[in-house]
C-alpha cells in the first residue's frame, strides 16, 4: 500500500496533495465538533474557564425534569417514523412495480426530494391543525363545526403529527433508495422464477425480495433513523413543545442565556449519540429476530401470504401521504396571497398582494442570501468531489479515509456537533460571517454531491479522455471540454441536489450565521408555529420554489444545451457567410 501511495504521489503530485489536504479539511471539523461536544460533557472547556474534568453536567442532565419525557418521545417518534416510512415505501414498490403508475411516481420523486422538508411541514401545519384547510374544506357542511374543534391534530403530545411529517419526508427518500438498489436483485427475473413455481408477485416480494433487499438498503435506513431521532427544524414546526423531543430540548439548552446549560446540553448531546447508536443496534436486532422467525415461513411452500392487505394498505397510505404533501405545498401560496381568510371559509374571502409587496425587500434579501449560500456551497462541493474522485480513479487507497469520513456529518446529530464547532468559530472570530455559513453548508452538501457523482464519474469511459489528449495535447482542455462536458447531466443533478440540501439546512445557518445571516429556511422555521401565516406562507413558498426551479433547470439544461449550441453555431455561420459574400 505504501508503494501505491508513493506512486500516486509521484505521478500526480498536485492532485495527491489536494486530496490529502481535503481529507484533513474534512477531518478537522469532525474532530472539532466531536471534541467540542464530548469535552464539555465532562465539564472541560477552557474557553469558558472550565479547566477540570468532572461529572457535574451529567448530574444536572439526570436531574432535568424533561429528560425522560423527551427521550421517550424521541425514541417513539424516531423509530416509528423510520419503520412506517420503510413499510410504506416497500409496499408501494411491491404493489406497483412494473406498472405505469410506478414510472410516474418515479418521476415525481426527484422534485419532492428537492423541496425542503420544513416547507412541507409548515404547509402540513396549515393543513392539519384544527383550524387548518382540511377542516375548513369539510366545515360546516359535513362536520357541523362553526368553530374549529378542540382536538389536537398538530404539535400533539404523543408526537404523532411529527411522525406523520417525518414519514412524508422519508418515504420518497426510501422509495428512491429502494428503486435504485432493486436492479441489483433482478426483481423481474425473481418474479418470473417465483411465478413459474406458482407464487403470485406479492408473495415473491414478501418472501424473496424483502429479505434480499434489506442488506442493500441498511445504511440509508440508518441515515433515516439518525435523522428522525435528531431532527430539530421539523420538530420545531410540527412537534410537541412541552416537552419536545430530546434534540429540541438540547437545542433550547444550548441557546440558553445561562452558559452553564451548555455543559448539561453537551452531556445530553453525548447521550443523544448513544441513543442513535443504541437505536441502530436495536433496529438491527429487531431485524435479526424478525428474520430468524421469518425464515421458517420462506420454505413453508405456501403460495399465498396474509401480507396482501398489508402491502395494499401501505401502498394506499403512501399515495395518501403524497396527497398530504401536495396539499401542503398548495396551501402555502394561498396563504401568501391572502388578505382575510377566516375559519371556516374554504378559500380566502379577500386576496391581496399587500403582504408580498410589504415583504418584498426582506424576501429578496433572504432569497439572495439563500441562493448565494446554496450555489456557492454546491459549487465548492462539486469541485472537492471532482478532485477526490479523480484521485480515487487513479489510486483509491488515497481516498479511503475520505470515503469513510464523508458519511459522518450525515450520521452525527447536528445539535451538539454543530455547537461544538460554534465554540471554535467564536474563538477564531469567524462566527456570523458568510465564510462560516458556507463552511458548514459545504460540510452537509458535500456528502450528497460526492455520493451522487461517485458512480457515474468512476464509470466514465476514460478512453474518450485519452483520445482527447492525443488530439489536443492539453490535459486541462480535454478534461473540461470532453470529460466534464460529457458528465454534464450528472454534474447538473449533483448541483441541483446540493442546492436542495443547502436550502434545507436550518441549524448550520442559525449557528454559523448568528442571526446576522438569515435564509428563507431559518426565517420560515422561526416563524412557522407562531408567526403570521401570510408571512410564513410567503417564505415557505419561496423556500420550496427555488430548489424546485433549479432542479427543473438541471433536468432541462444539459439536454437542450448541445442542441442550443449547435443552432447558435449554425446561425452565426450563416451570418458570417452573408457578410463575406459582398466582398467576394
Amino acid at each position: 500500500m505504501v508503494n501505491r501511495l508513493y506512486q500516486a504521489a509521484i505521478n500526480m503530485p498536485l492532485l495527491y496533495i489536494s486530496a490529502i489536504s481535503l481529507t484533513l479539511l474534512l477531518l478537522v471539523p469532525i474532530i472539532i465538533g466531536l471534541a467540542g461536544t464530548i469535552l464539555p460533557a465532562f465539564n472541560y472547556l477552557p474557553a469558558l474557564a472550565h479547566m477540570e474534568f468532572g461529572l457535574t453536567p451529567w448530574r444536572s442532565l439526570l436531574a432535568a425534569p424533561e429528560l425522560m419525557g423527551s427521550i421517550k418521545l424521541t425514541l417513539v417518534s424516531g423509530l416509528l417514523a423510520t419503520m412506517i416510512s420503510f413499510v410504506l415505501a416497500f409496499s408501494l414498490v411491491a404493489v406497483l412495480y412494473q406498472t405505469r403508475w410506478m414510472s410516474s411516481i418515479r418521476h415525481s420523486l426527484a422534485p419532492i426530494l428537492a423541496i425542503p422538508h420544513a416547507a412541507i411541514a409548515i404547509g402540513m401545519v396549515f393543513l392539519l391543525s384544527p383550524s387548518g384547510w382540511i377542516v375548513r374544506l369539510l366545515s360546516p357542511w359535513l362536520t357541523g363545526y362553526e368553530r374549529p374543534p378542540t382536538w389536537v391534530s398538530v404539535q400533539d403530545a404523543y408526537g404523532l403529527s411529527l411522525v406523520l411529517a417525518l414519514v412524508v419526508k422519508e418515504t420518497p427518500f426510501l422509495l428512491f433508495v429502494i428503486l435504485s438498489s432493486l436492479p441489483q436483485l433482478k426483481p423481474q427475473a425473481l418474479l418470473q422464477v417465483g411465478a413459474s413455481m406458482g407464487y403470485p408477485p406479492l408473495t415473491v416480494w414478501r418472501k424473496v425480495i424483502l429479505p434480499a433487499l434489506y442488506p442493500l438498503i441498511r445504511f440509508p435506513l440508518l441515515i433515516v433513523l439518525a435523522f428522525s431521532l435528531t431532527v430539530v427544524d421539523l420538530t420545531l414546526v410540527i412537534g410537541p413543545n412541552s416537552p419536545s423531543t430530546f434534540a429540541v430540548t438540547l437545542f433550547h439548552w444550548f441557546t440558553d442565556v445561562d452558559l452553564e446549560r451548555r455543559f448539561t446540553a453537551s452531556a445530553g448531546a453525548v447521550l443523544l449519540m448513544a441513543i442513535i447508536l443504541l437505536s441502530a443496534l436495536a433496529w438491527e436486532l429487531f431485524y435479526r429476530v424478525f428474520i430468524y422467525f421469518d425464515r421458517k415461513r420462506w420454505g413453508n411452500g405456501k403460495r399465498h401470504t396474509n401480507a396482501y392487505l398489508f402491502f395494499k394498505t401501505g401502498a394506499y397510505l403512501y399515495l395518501g401521504n403524497m396527497g398530504i404533501a401536495l396539499l401542503s405545498l398548495l396551501v402555502l401560496p394561498i396563504w401568501a396571497f391572502t388578505h382575510r381568510w377566516r375559519f371556516p371559509d374554504i378559500l380566502p374571502s379577500e386576496w391581496s398582494l399587500k403582504k408580498i409587496q410589504q415583504l418584498a425587500p426582506i424576501l429578496v434579501e433572504l432569497a439572495c442570501a439563500s441562493l448565494l449560500i446554496a450555489v456557492v456551497s454546491s459549487l465548492i462541493s462539486i469541485a472537492i468531489s471532482l478532485v477526490m474522485l479523480e484521485q480515487k480513479r487513479c489510486c483509491s487507497t488515497v481516498t479511503q479515509w475520505f470515503d469513510r469520513l464523508i458519511c459522518w456529518p450525515m450520521l452525527l446529530p447536528q445539535v451538539g456537533f454543530l455547537f461544538g464547532i460554534q465554540v471554535f468559530f467564536i474563538w477564531s472570530d469567524v462566527n456570523g460571517t458568510v465564510f462560516a455559513v458556507l463552511a458548514l453548508h459545504t460540510l452537509y452538501v458535500l456528502p450528497y454531491v460526492y455520493l451522487t457523482l461517485s458512480a457515474p464519474y468512476l464509470s466514465f469511459n476514460q478512453q474518450y479522455y485519452t483520445q482527447a489528449i492525443c488530439v489536443t495535447h492539453s490535459p486541462a482542455r480535454s478534461y473540461f471540454l470532453i470529460k466534464l462536458a460529457m458528465l454534464k447531466p450528472i454534474l447538473w443533478s449533483a448541483f441541483a441536489l446540493g442546492v436542495a440540501v443547502s436550502f434545507a439546512q436550518y441549524l448550520p445557518t442559525l449557528i454559523a450565521g448568528e442571526g446576522r445571516i438569515n435564509t428563507l429556511t431559518t426565517e420560515a422555521v422561526a416563524l412557522a408555529a407562531s408567526g403570521d401565516r401570510k408571512k410564513v406562507g410567503n417564505m415557505a413558498m419561496l423556500q420550496a420554489l427555488f430548489p424546485l426551479l433549479i432542479f427543473m433547470l438541471a433536468q432541462w439544461l444539459p439536454y437542450s444545451w448541445t442542441k442550443y449550441r449547435l443552432t447558435l453555431k449554425s446561425t452565426l455561420k450563416k451570418g458570417a457567410l452573408k457578410k463575406t459574400q459582398p466582398i467576394k
Binding site: V193, A195, M197, G198, K207
Partner: protein
Amino acid sequence: MRTPLLDLKRCQIKINSTVLLDDFSFHVNNGEVLSIMGPSGCGKSTLLGYLSGTLSHDFIATGQIELDGKPIQQLNTIKRKVGILYQSPLLFPHMTNLENLLFATPSNKNTSHKERVEMAMGKLNELGLETKAHELPEVLSGGQQARIALLRALLAEPQYLLLDEPFSKLDPELRQSVRSFTLEQIQKANIPTVLVTHDMEDAQAMQSKIITLQTQN
C-alpha cells in the same frame, strides 16, 4: 404413438407492425426436448416469453398453446405450472440451499413440514450436497448452482419446462456434465421441454428435435 403433450398451434407474434413469428407450430412429447435455435433477434426469447406467459404487453401474440389438449394461453404464469430456467441459476441469495428447495416444494394438507424437508433433502442427497444444506448458495460452484436451480424448478411439479440458454454461462468443461444431468432429470420427470439456445452442442446433447428460426425481414 405418444400424445403430443405441449402443442403450439399457428402462433403469430408481432411488435408494432413487425412480424417476429408467423404461422409457427410445433409439438413436444413427455420427456422429450425441443431445441429452438437461431441468430439473436430471431424471436427465440419472445417465443419463450409467450410460452411462459411473461411476454410484455407490447407484443401482440395470437395462436394457441395446448397442454395435454387443453388451451393454456389465457392463463397467467402462476397458473400454467411451467418451470423456467435462465442463464443464471437465480438461487435466492439470502436463503440456504435447503430453503431454496423448500420454497419450491408445494405444501398441502397431506404433506407435513417434515415430509417436505425430507423430499428436499433427498434431492440434495442425489447431488451429494446434503452437507451444504444449511449454507447459502454462494458457497457452491456454478455447476452445483445450476443443478440446484433445475431441481428447484422440478420440485414445484411443473407440467412443462422452458430452458433459456441455461448452459451458456457455465465453464465449457462443466457444461457436458450439467447437460446430461438435465436430460436425465427431464426424462425422470417425464415432461415436455423447450430449450432455447444458439449452441448446436446443447441441442445435440439433449437428444432433441431442432427447429431453426430465421430473422424475419
